[in-house]
Amino acid sequence: MGASAIESATATRTGVSQRLKTALHCFCSWLYIVWLIAWREVKAFFTSWIAYAMLIFFLVLCGYIFFAIFMVGRTSDMRYFYWDVAVILMFIVPMMTMRLFAEERRLGTLELLLTSPVSDWQAVLGKFMGSFIVLCITLSLTLYVPLIVKRIANPDLGPYWSAYIGLLLYGAVMLSIGTFWSATTDNQIIAAVATFGTLLMLYIISWPAEGLSGWSEFFQRISLYHRYKDFAEGLVDTKHIVFYITFTFLALYFTVRTVESRLWR
């Protein structure tokens, strides 16, 4: 009796660990497909001239702003620099995301992707991750800023780290909005314009906040940019992180629904 109880308990335990293993294996192969789609997206992006035009545009603007603040302004306080980087991102994120779905829709390759054993979530996450990798590569090109400042002025590096955390989170939200608009159309230009319009709206929405008593907090809370300012000042606030991640997943959720809508339209 006792032996069989122990036996069955062991059996259950191995059963559970077995199931856990299978589940983990499933999840890994699920993620692997996402990674394949993402990596193809990155490679495709860097075969287009738009990628290099975008990177040059970004580097020149960042370089100029850094020069203005550091050499002319003679300060090691880089919060203004990172505020401006976020504004420049608003212009280049539409270029990163506009092709994701719109191009595949135009060429018809979306039909082949979605009739492969790939779920809509995998396709959407893969494409989003691809653009996120491009964002990481782009942002890594500004890492010369902390390196130079550290060499010359030896500042506290904390605010730099928080600025990059903020840029990645804020960037992820922007990319998810771009991914959504790209999924709605087969025209890259329309996707880019709609993305830029949305980002601009969410950027300026906090501007009238001070004039509107009572509403000011509301507007500041829904403004994506306003939250980012805290990161650039060295403040990593959990509620901002939760806000950004939630917003990203919400936008991706709507993207999946849009991709799914082919089924019943």
């Binding site: 497909i33 495709a44 060429l107 009739t115 779920s119 089924l263």
Partner: protein, 313 residues
């Protein structure tokens, strides 16, 4: 292998498919035949899980395409009509990518890619960028990507459209070979194509299946009466009436624009050729030619569709 039950699809208020049902057995090559806009592509897209039906069910290898989309798609290799490919990739990297997202195990991918490259005749262009390929090669890459995960089912939408005649022959030959170990559905609006490649033909018109048969059977079933063509050295005045008096013969007439050619219509199911031969020889009219008038699929196609129209009016 593929079971389609009462498929109906509306695009808005437009009825694209109307109660379509058919089954395809393992190893069969089935041709969808119909004019443009008949519902061929819609049916294929539903089977592949790109669209969902308004009503009805589709099962591929026992898996419902709506409830188990991943499992059913794993069994299908699909080539859409426009042959969409990623233009910036090389043929090799593209096929590797397609094999990977269709879950070909890592160790087997190279082998599978090499196999389909060989099979589809892509050896010379395997390291070329897809965007630079000719239409014929693109088409072959399209078929290669459909084959790369070794699916039991192949669905090819207009596989020979836009190819030059030599390429058309090559692609048809390839499809014929593939039919030996795959279940194939292909669509076309070119009639000789189905009789050349398919064992079964489904004729689709205005979203409905109006006929399903083998190319031969279709011909036989639709021939309302047997038509025999007889070419004689000379046709005396009484020849027509004398032939008409034979048993089973319905009508005899001269074929316009032909030299001394008579068309003899008989009741279906009887072969009157020996009798006619004997009759002609006995009368000494000089028999030059005697053959059954083959009805081409073209004629059958028109016949079926016009008949259906007649029913509706």
């Amino acid at each position: 292998m593929i079971e389609v039950h009462h498929l109906t699809k509306y695009y808005g208020t437009l009825k694209a498919l109307d109660d379509v049902s058919f089954t395809v057995k393992r190893g069969e090559v089935v041709g969808f035949l119909g004019p443009n806009g008949a519902g061929k592509t819609t049916t294929m897209r539903i089977i592949c899980g790109y669209l969902s039906p308004t009503d009805g069910t589709v099962k591929v290898g026992g898996y419902d395409v709506i409830e188990n989309p991943i499992e059913s798609r794993q069994l299908i290799g699909y080539m859409p009509e426009t042959v969409p490919l990623y233009n910036e990739m090389t043929v090799r990297s593209y096929l590797h990518y397609m094999a990977a997202i269709r879950r070909v195990p890592k160790g087997k991918r190279k082998e599978r890619v090499d196999y389909v490259v060989e099979r589809c005749g892509l050896k010379e262009v395997v390291d070329n960028i897809i965007g630079t390929l000719s239409k014929g090669y693109r088409q072959r890459v399209g078929i290669a990507q459909a084959l790369v995960h070794d699916p039991p089912v192949l669905i090819l939408d207009e596989p020979t459209i836009g190819l030059d005649p030599i390429q058309v022959i090559e692609v048809r030959q390839l499809i014929k070979e593939l039919g030996n170990d795959h279940t194939v559905i292909l669509s076309t609006h070119i009639l000789p194509e189905v009789s050349m490649t398919c064992k079964t033909v489904l004729i689709i018109h205005r979203g409905r299946i109006v006929a399903e048969d083998t190319p031969d059977g279709l011909e036989r079933r639709l021939r309302k009466s047997e038509r025999i063509l007889v070419r004689l050295q000379r046709i005396p005045d009484d020849a027509v009436s004398s032939l008409e008096r034979l048993p089973s013969v319905v009508r005899v007439e001269r074929v316009h624009g032909e030299n001394n050619l008579l068309a003899v219509e008989a009741r279906p199911g009887t072969d009157i050729r020996p009798m006619i031969a004997e009759h002609v020889v006995n009368h000494g009219w000089g028999l030059l030619e005697l053959r059954r008038d083959e009805m081409t699929l073209e004629e059958i196609f028109l016949n079926i569709i016009t008949r259906e129209e007649g029913v509706k009016v």
